[in-house]
Symmetry: C2
Amino acid sequence: MEKFEVHILGCGSALPTTRHFPTSQVVNIREKLFMIDCGEGAQMQLRRSRLKFSRLNHIFISHLHGDHCFGLIGLISTFSLLGRTSTLHIHAHKELETLMRPWLDFFCRGINFQVEFHCFSEKTPETIYDDRSVAVTTIPLNHRVPCVGFLFKEKPTPDHIIREMIDFYQIPTYELLRIKNGGDYVTPDGKVIPHGRLTTPSSEPRSYAYCSDTTCLMSNIRQLEGVDLLFHEATFASDNEARAQETFHSTARQAALLAQDAKVGQLIIGHFSARYENENLLLKEAQSIFPNTILAKENLKLSIKNKPH
Amino acid sequence: MEKFEVHILGCGSALPTTRHFPTSQVVNIREKLFMIDCGEGAQMQLRRSRLKFSRLNHIFISHLHGDHCFGLIGLISTFSLLGRTSTLHIHAHKELETLMRPWLDFFCRGINFQVEFHCFSEKTPETIYDDRSVAVTTIPLNHRVPCVGFLFKEKPTPDHIIREMIDFYQIPTYELLRIKNGGDYVTPDGKVIPHGRLTTPSSEPRSYAYCSDTTCLMSNIRQLEGVDLLFHEATFASDNEARAQETFHSTARQAALLAQDAKVGQLIIGHFSARYENENLLLKEAQSIFPNTILAKENLKLSIKNKPH
């Protein structure tokens, strides 16, 4: 099975605690690493995860609050010390480049790689990364400052050829790619062998959505519909619903309702307020609505499994 | 005994490891906290130390390499979230203010306290902090960029009055302060009672010196002479002496020779290169020259004890 893993590096919120690092995650899709947010200490946590620094080429920053980006400068310095040469791409709101450039010029003089900033709008979903195997699309969110989530979606893979049928119909090799990708086969005497007889379906493309920081936006349901794994912030429990509203955050209950309505496979909640010594309160609140919920925690690795069509 | 403690928050060097945070320390003198350097993660470590954030008003930055200052912005943000109102003083080379201001303006909008930067020259020792109980003086160091160490020196405290002698000579109260501070007493009939008969000596002022990052500077011996505790960087062991020289760092052996020549009370070494999995190598090398050496480690607290004159 091709890898599709989510590594939680930090899942606390703005105030540091002895239990949590601020927000950062790494998505590992077929050994390409994508970082989402980069709170202070992300590089130490990345080191702890034993993921390869050199496989990380794209960093996505949801919004410009310190607990989501203060770890960037240290991470980039370390990349430089490790002798990196390949370009690092940072996808973020446009002010980040203005803020980072003077620091990069001063603290990372003479680095041997480019740091390229790519900005996006927070208004409408936008595909900001796209390769053979995965596309990353922004999810408009609702926070005190411009903020987006990120949807990682695998590309469909070709169907699997049934070797015996290929032999049986003596299909030439140059036809195989077309058949894998959905084509039928027409024999020399004009008979059509339908695609479905020649192949078994590939696994369904997997998906991961990250939504933090934000109020709970039911308007996003269509975009989140059926994702295999949804990370949604649950800064507060329902006892602090007013506070959540006021600070543009969500409660565990709200995150669970969204997961339920969007029919996601699994919900993982995080970005916990420092006030909750025991986050099981948040877990229980979410599970009472959406049972397949888990709590984020530092150094947790989640694999998204393949499922047949 | 009045408190004089050193808390090690981080003692690694530039490359992060799973064992060390980058450099940061807190000196606690009579419940006033002074931070020395502020590497990434310093605020998490400060939280772990259980020291009171509100008692920290002065931060001293030795030099502008990331592993000594990337934690500042997160620490200041947290101060703001915690509702701080009192001025925070940052003592550093002058470029730091230029770098920090745009970040403070963007990430810490609306904070309710002043952040005041105070700059110093790295050329000659300069007293950069001074109150009733302690003075902080810079120590010129030799690194790739301008760099200073810091010498914390307690002020002498008055001698202790011997109550019985005061009663015996019926000395009036208004004379006591003068006697505590070294004066003799002259009786109404002109007899001189020497200071030493009326008092017991106070403890000797204690001192702590911090030297990192630097080559080993024997020219600093006079300034370090007799300090109770010396923190000196020992990035490398002697097997990497050439590398130490090249990168303007010290070996454990060099730090120990300096401690020996300056006749310090105790040596603590830190700023360990990530290459040393087991720092006992560094410890043994230093102890073979200066036996009263210890290794810095995260969350270590050292008390500097009073000693009589």
